[in-house]
């Protein structure tokens, strides 16, 4: 392994020394609890839009926990965090451009 790779590997090892096992188990527990809440809410007969909003909100929290703690993004340099996450969110948000068309089909009453 080259010197710069060793230096980076040492940095990664140093990061991991700060992560206690407790933290990982806490995140895992939180993810299971959020999943339980999602399943519970499914059977509460809520209006679909409200239900979708809550479920997607919980999914985003779960995604943030997985990316932040399990994928260690929380411990990366801020340039890495901002560039990767902003580009991903921007691309996914751009795909929403198709949704007005789906609603237009509804209003046209296409069978």
């Amino acid at each position: 392994m080259e010197a710069f790779q060793q230096a980076i590997a040492a940095r990664v090892a140093e990061q991991h020394r700060h992560h206690g096992m407790t933290q990982f188990f806490a995140v895992w527990g939180a993810l299971l609890v959020f999943t339980g809440i999602e399943v519970y809410l499914t059977y509460q007969n809520m209006p679909p839009v409200r239900m979708l909003t809550i479920l997607m909100g919980l999914s985003l929290i779960k995604a943030a926990l997985i990316i932040g703690y399990f994928m260690h993004m929380k411990y990366e340099v801020s340039r890495m965090k901002w560039l990767t996450m902003c580009s991903l969110v921007a691309c996914l948000a751009l795909m929403m451009i198709f949704f007005p068309d789906a609603l237009r089909i509804l209003s046209l009453g296409v069978k």
């Binding site: 790779q5 980076i8 590997a9 990664v12 991991h16 188990f25 997985i66 990366e76 609603l103 509804l106």
Partner: protein, 268 residues
Amino acid sequence: MSEAALPHDLHDAPAAYEPSLFGTYSKKIGMWLFLLSDSLTFGALLYAYSYGRISTPNWPTPFHSESIVNATVMTAFLLTSSLTMVLAVRAAVFGDAKKQRLWLLATMACGMGFVLLHGREWSKLIAEGLTLPVFPKLAEHATSTEFADVAKTVPQFPATFFGLTGMHMLHVTLGVIYLGIVALRRNFIPILLVFWLAAWLGTPASSPFHYGSHILLLAAIVCSIILWLKPKIYDAADVEVAGLYWHFVDLVWMFIFPLVYLMSAKIL
């Protein structure tokens, strides 16, 4: 620092390194870039599913509590596998090879549990009539069930359901193979071939998994070539990069589960 002194200083300082733009090693950046592109693949599939749902007023909600319980257990398997994966990465960083291998095998076991439960559910849904034109023809009694009606009246539902969950199942399967290679290297190839034979001979010819199992054979061939061309002992960085892939697979399921299963639950 003068320009004349710069090359000399760098040459004499082997321990110094220029930090990369993202402050980490290139393998990890490569995996993140792959995951970002793969996010868009799954994003497109999830948006296609949502588009179909918004534009179809009679979108079905066919999943009974049995399916929801099954999908919840599958979710628990994936979440647990993410925990065991992160423990494998931790063991690798601390140089504990034995624990690293054990945690990787535990992760693979959870991933296989997920795939088996998912495969069982697919088989059940297909037998009950939720099918695609590319799947084998159904038995006579399955063509008048609730799921058969769904497939006839809203063909977008089985198309998007099987497309989305099938793509995810493929990712989990490839993830298990990836971890198997990192944990056991060459020793995993014969195990993979045994899995292929079991999947091929253990499923009826009418099942989509009968021919789908050949993905395992293809993976065994590709992995053999890679290990033959570049045999190596995988270090902590390799385990961490494999972990990133595995957590991504878990992450995607966190959106498929509520959107596809929970939002389509049959509330009695």
